[in-house]
Structures are given as structure tokens and as C-alpha cells.
């Protein structure tokens, strides 16, 4: 109905894993991670291969937690921030699972999870996996400056997480279940500042949330939490304002993955975390464990992505945003 797909036989979360780097190990969610590596090279010579290694470790951990091997997964939806999604491509070279490569910037985890949920719920796959990552050092050299370059960050800029998250979905299982998904529409309200991606993505988050609540007819009160992905402090405030203008009040139950991953008071991360691995790692280290433990019963996971490239940014184009939504419930 509308933009939202509701599933009669929803996919169940079978297992998940998260891997993080040094700064993530120093953050408030450290305890929830399956693996934290203070050597951010992950033993590799290039940052691109470091990210791929981290993603591989994450996939292997997720499979191990499910008690299956790679052959037990029918299809994997994955992506990252690197040009041509190379981190995922090199990971998948080793894993050998049929692979669908995705790019939705920081929204890739929700996109992959939503697609995997569709394939499993629709009977097209028995088990499907979503896997994404981002690496601060690989992203910096691609989108910004060399690591050792002395530059100043504006207070609205966000910090790319060195993290990966992977979720395995199964056609049968005890939950949590992926009850509905909303694929977002590309939204652009004219923000051009690549150091303020939260503001660029906030309209997309609001648009997708409004679509979901319109399509489902549900009340925000029915949800324990709504997790947006990587809006940071500025984008979160703007998304809440945009929803409120349309009569949707979410402040009480809203949290943002970019604000959860780091302690902004203690860690220098600007307006918060970002990156395809940020929302993925928060999902797998914080949200899904709470659902499994019964501390949460019903949540919305809305990851947002800023869809510019360094080229379009230099050409003074505004930044298109996207947000995909997944409704995850225990019952």
C-alpha cells in the first residue's frame, strides 16, 4: 500500500554481528560489539583492504552466530562507501555467496535489509543476508583530504565510522520479524554543504517516516523507538521539525544511530557519526540485541544516505538524500 510493503510471512532475524575500530571501541556502544579492533589497518596494507577485511570478519562472525556457513545463505545484499563498492566486492570474492552490490551511501544497511526481507518474505530466498561497512580512513581519502592534512572541521560535519554490521534473515525462526519496509524517494531541499550532510538527509528521513505512518495507519505511540541512521545532531533536529510540521510527533521515541555510536562530549566527532557502517553497527550492537532480549518490542529502523559524489559537490550541485525504513517487531 503506498510506498510501504507489508509482509504476511515476514522474515525472521536469524543472527547478526558487528565489528568496530578504535574510536568505536572508545564509544558508549563498545560492549555490544562482537569484535573491536584497535589496529584500524586490520593487518592490511591499504585502507581499502582494511575495510574489506573488517567486513569479512563481520560476515564470518554473523554466520558463526547462526551456526551456518556461507553455503547456507542464498543471497547477500551488501555495500559500502568506496568507489565502485570495492570493499564489498573484495569481501564477496572470498565468501562466494550470490551477491547483489548496493549503493545508498549511509542508507545502504536499511536498503540491503529491506531487499533481503522482501526476498525471504516473498519466498525467493530461504536465507538472505545484508552486510555493509565504512572505514574512516578509506572514506577520508576518497571524499575529503589525506589523513595527515591539517584541516579544521565545522561543527556540523560528521565522522565516518570505522564499522561493519551484518544480519542474516531466515524464512522461519523465532523473531524478531521484519514486518514492513518502505523504500524511500530521493529528496533534495537544496543543501550544498558536504560538511552538513545531516541537514541534506533530514528531508528524506521525514519523507519516508511520513510515508510509512500514512501507509500503515499506525500511531507513533505503538513503537518503542524510532532509530534514524546518521542524521547527527543537526539532521535529527531538522527531521523532527519537518515531521512535526506534518503533524507527526516523534521526539519522545526518536534516537539517531550517529548520536548513539559516539559520545560527542568526550569524542571529537562533530555533529555525530555517519557512514554505511554506522547505522549497520548500531543496529547489530544495540538495536537487535535489545529486541532479542525483549527490552524493545517494536522499532523502526530508518537509515539515511547523502547521495552526492566528490565530483558533484565540486560542481556545486545540491545533495540528494534518501532514507529506507524497516519495521522490526518481536511479535
Amino acid at each position: 500500500m503506498g510506498d510501504t510493503l507489508f509482509f504476511e510471512r515476514p522474515a525472521s532475524v536469524m543472527g547478526y554481528a558487528s565489528v568496530g575500530g578504535k574510536r568505536e571501541a572508545e564509544g558508549p556502544l563498545a560492549e555490544g560489539f562482537d569484535l573491536l579492533e584497535t589496529d584500524t589497518t586490520f593487518g592490511e596494507k591499504t585502507w581499502e583492504q582494511s575495510e574489506s577485511r573488517m567486513q569479512t570478519l563481520c560476515a564470518e562472525l554473523a554466520l558463526r552466530r547462526c551456526g551456518i556457513d556461507a553455503a547456507g545463505v542464498d543471497l547477500l545484499f551488501g555495500g559500502d562507501l568506496e568507489n565502485q563498492c570495492t570493499a564489498s566486492n573484495y569481501t564477496m570474492r572470498g565468501l562466494g555467496i550470490p551477491f547483489v552490490g548496493l549503493y545508498s551511501a549511509c542508507a545502504t544497511m536499511a536498503e540491503g535489509l529491506a531487499l533481503a526481507a522482501c526476498f525471504v518474505a516473498g519466498g525467493l530466498a530461504r536465507r538472505a543476508m545484508a552486510l555493509t561497512s565504512s572505514h574512516f580512513c578509506a572514506a577520508e581519502r576518497q571524499f575529503r583530504f589525506p589523513l595527515e592534512y591539517g584541516g579544521k572541521r565545522t561543527p556540523t560535519s560528521q565522522w565516518t565510522a570505522t564499522a561493519a554490521g551484518g544480519v542474516v534473515l531466515s524464512a522461519d525462526g523465532a523473531g524478531p520479524y521484519l514486518r514492513a519496509v518502505t523504500f524511500g524517494r530521493v529528496t533534495d531541499l537544496g543543501i550544498k554543504d558536504t560538511n552538513n550532510m545531516g541537514a541534506a538527509m533530514a528531508p528524506a528521513a521525514a519523507s519516508t517516516l511520513l510515508a510509512y505512518f500514512r501507509d500503515s495507519g499506525r500511531d507513533p505511540e505503538e513503537f518503542d523507538r524510532i532509530y534514524t541512521g546518521d542524521l547527527g545532531a543537526v539532521g535529527s533536529a531538522l527531521a523532527m521539525q519537518l515531521c512535526e510540521r506534518e503533524g507527526l510527533r516523534l521526539e519522545k521515541i526518536h534516537e539517531d544511530c550517529g548520536l548513539l555510536l559516539y559520545d560527542r562530549g568526550r569524542q571529537q566527532v562533530g555533529a555525530g557519526g555517519s557512514g554505511a557502517g554506522c547505522s549497520a553497527a548500531v543496529l547489530c550492537s544495540h538495536i537487535l540485541p535489545q529486541l532479542k532480549a525483549g527490552a524493545l518490542q517494536r522499532v523502526l529502523f530508518v537509515a539515511t544516505g547523502a547521495l552526492m559524489s566528490p565530483t558533484t559537490a565540486l560542481q556545486k550541485e545540491s545533495i540528494p538524500g534518501i532514507a529506507h525504513l524497516v519495521a522490526i517487531e518481536n511479535a
Binding site: 596494507k45 591499504t46 581519502r141 583530504f145 589525506p146 589523513l147 595527515e148 592534512y149 591539517g150 584541516g151 579544521k152 572541521r153 565545522t154 561543527p155 556540523t156 529528496t187 531541499l189 537544496g190 543543501i191 552538513n196 541537514a199 528531508p203 521525514a206 519523507s207 511520513l210 545532531a233 543537526v234 533536529a237 531538522l238 521539525q241 519537518l242 510540521r245 506534518e246 571529537q268
Partner: protein
């Protein structure tokens, strides 16, 4: 959502925290000033060691560039610059940092296609437009000089 870009721009301005200008300026002033002070100390020291003024000045620049390159390689220059901003960007040490940091970063892509091609990716525009500006000023000076009685 019925919202114009202008309206959203206004919302964004309100929601986005401004840079702490006073704090940034103080950092830039004192760190930039300290680098210049170090330069003066070096020049005086080279002068005392018996070098003539032009040689002492050149040696001062060379020393500051070398120092900046070492600090960049250690990752310390970037840490200082994240607070000092223009204080570390404007002096010659900032220029050295802008050349050395891509040289380190792109080393893995080879000596020619990595270091060679990318070394001036940040400093390049400064050289191009700095040279252009000096050419333009040279032409202006050529016509102004007779009027200045030179």
C-alpha cells in the same frame, strides 16, 4: 512535504551551530604567532652563526618546512591543526603539510602514479594562482615603477 528551499534553508541556519569564531581566532592567533616567533628565533640564530640575512632567511624556511614534514609524518601536525586552523595553515609549515600529507597518503598507489601525481593535489592551486598573481602584479609594477620615480 510542502516546503520551499528558502524555508528549509532558514530552518537549517537555525539548527546548525556556528563555528566558535572567537575561540578559533584565539587558537589561530597564538599558534600562528608561535610558528612565526620560532621563525624569528631561527633567523636570529642563523644570523648569529654568521650567515648573511638572505641565507639566514632561506635556512629558516628550510628548517620550518623540514620540521613540518616530520611532524606531519608523525601525525602531530594534523592534531595541532584541528584546533589551530588558519594558524597552522597560513605559515610555510602549512604549505609543507599540504604537500607531505598527500605524498604519504597516496604512497600505496605507487611512486609515480601515487606520490608523483597526487603530491600537489592540495598545494597545486596555491602554486598556480600564486604564480598568476605574481605575474599580474609584475605587469602592474612595470607600469607603476616609472611613476614612482624608480
Amino acid at each position: 512535504m510542502k516546503l520551499s528551499k528558502q524555508e528549509y534553508d532558514r530552518m537549517n541556519r537555525q539548527a546548525s551551530p556556528p563555528s566558535p569564531v572567537a575561540k578559533d581566532c584565539l587558537w589561530a592567533f597564538f599558534v600562528g604567532g608561535a610558528i612565526c616567533l620560532l621563525g624569528e628565533v631561527l633567523r636570529t640564530a642563523y644570523g648569529r652563526a654568521g650567515f648573511i640575512l638572505t641565507d639566514a632567511s632561506a635556512l629558516t624556511s628550510i628548517t620550518l618546512v623540514a620540521l613540518s614534514a616530520v611532524l606531519t609524518a608523525l601525525g602531530w601536525y594534523q592534531k595541532l591543526a584541528s584546533r589551530a586552523g588558519a594558524g597552522t595553515l597560513v605559515p610555510i609549515t602549512g604549505f609543507a603539510n599540504a604537500v607531505v600529507s598527500p605524498a604519504i597518503e597516496y604512497r600505496v598507489e605507487g611512486l609515480v602514479t601515487g606520490v608523483g601525481a597526487k603530491m600537489f593535489v592540495i598545494a597545486g592551486p596555491v602554486i598556480v594562482w600564486g604564480m598568476m598573481a605574481s605575474v599580474v602584479w609584475g605587469v602592474v609594477y612595470y607600469f607603476l615603477r616609472p611613476m614612482m620615480g624608480g
